[in-house]
């Protein structure tokens, strides 16, 4: 067992785990029928799935003697941007009444997506 072979095995294992999670994400997207629940599968399972694929890429690059750590940047940007797109999809669902109407907030009057007096608020905050 040379280090190269061990590295290849670890990289392959990461690839299998990663693609498994991506597959589960796709199944979730197909299986659930409510727009809000469908949102869950890709945002969660996608992060670890793609993370494992990138780990496999890093290990392989070290294995063949051309180290690359670009992948950590991809991971960092993915983790920063994934919640934002998920948040926007959720907001669209609420706005179009495509899901159950959410309960009222316990402290303020309403949710920002549902409030229609945006102009008044802008004046207030000024």
């Amino acid at each position: 067992m040379t280090p190269q072979i061990i590295g290849t095995y670890i990289a392959s294992l990461s690839l299998i785990i990663g693609s498994g999670f991506v597959l589960v994400g796709a199944i979730g997207l197909l299986k659930f029928n409510d727009p809000m629940t469908r949102l869950h599968a890709p945002t969660k399972v996608g992060t670890l799935g793609i993370g494992m694929l990138l780990v496999a890429s890093v290990i392989h690059s070290f294995d063949i003697g051309r180290p690359s750590i670009h992948e950590f940047l991809i991971m960092a940007f993915l983790f920063v941007t994934a919640p934002i797109s998920a948040n926007f999809i959720a907001k669209v669902n609420i706005h179009r009444r495509a899901c159950e109407t959410p309960p009222d907030p316990s402290h303020d009057t309403t949710w920002s997506t549902l409030s229609d007096d945006l102009d008044e608020q802008a004046v207030e905050t000024k």
Binding site: V24, M36, H40, K44, A86, I94, P102, S106
Partner: protein, 166 residues
């Protein structure tokens, strides 16, 4: 000395992050790249500071590191949990729920981090903020007990973020 330092580098942490990002982007560690990254790390915060006038007064990087480890661990656990739910629970047996999280955090940066963390972890997506920013709306994929998830978010993440931005 200290004043000169803060005049040149008003945001040391951001400068550090930008320098590291630049070196990672180039995929090589040489003195030239380090210096160029450092120059970018000074120029970019200086040029963009117009767009974020209210930066948080205090920030504890070390607590941030321990928080990151907690979150990464939770992401791994959550992924396995969600994968299990996706594969085993039939679509009509699913119990999705809305939960309302009252916020003690006030800084926009801290609330953004909390919302991001919630979206990345256990079967929850942060969906909306109330109009004055004092409540966070969270959607849960499958739960029997929404209140325990709300308490979990408050005790596990919000408490730590309050310490980071304390």
């Amino acid at each position: 000395m200290k004043r000169a330092f803060y005049w040149l580098i008003p945001h040391p942490l951001l400068t550090l992050i930008l320098t590291i990002t630049w070196v990672l982007l180039q995929n090589e560690l040489s003195a030239g790249m380090l210096v160029f990254g450092f120059i970018l790390g000074i120029l970019i915060p200086w040029m963009t500071s117009v767009w974020w006038p209210d930066t948080p007064k205090s920030f504890h990087p070390l607590r941030m590191v321990s928080y990151s480890f907690v979150v990464i661990w939770d992401i791994i656990v959550a992924n396995i949990e969600v994968a299990w739910i996706v594969l085993t629970v039939p679509a009509n047996k699913l119990k999705p729920a809305w939960i309302v999280v009252p916020l003690r955090l006030r800084q926009p940066e801290a609330i953004t981090m909390l919302a991001g963390t919630i979206t990345l972890t256990p079967g929850t997506v942060s969906a909306d903020l109330s109009d004055q920013g004092r409540c966070l709306l969270v959607h849960v994929l499958h739960t029997e007990d929404p209140d325990s998830i709300r308490d979990d978010i408050i005790n596990r993440y919000e408490a730590r973020l309050l310490e980071i931005f304390a």
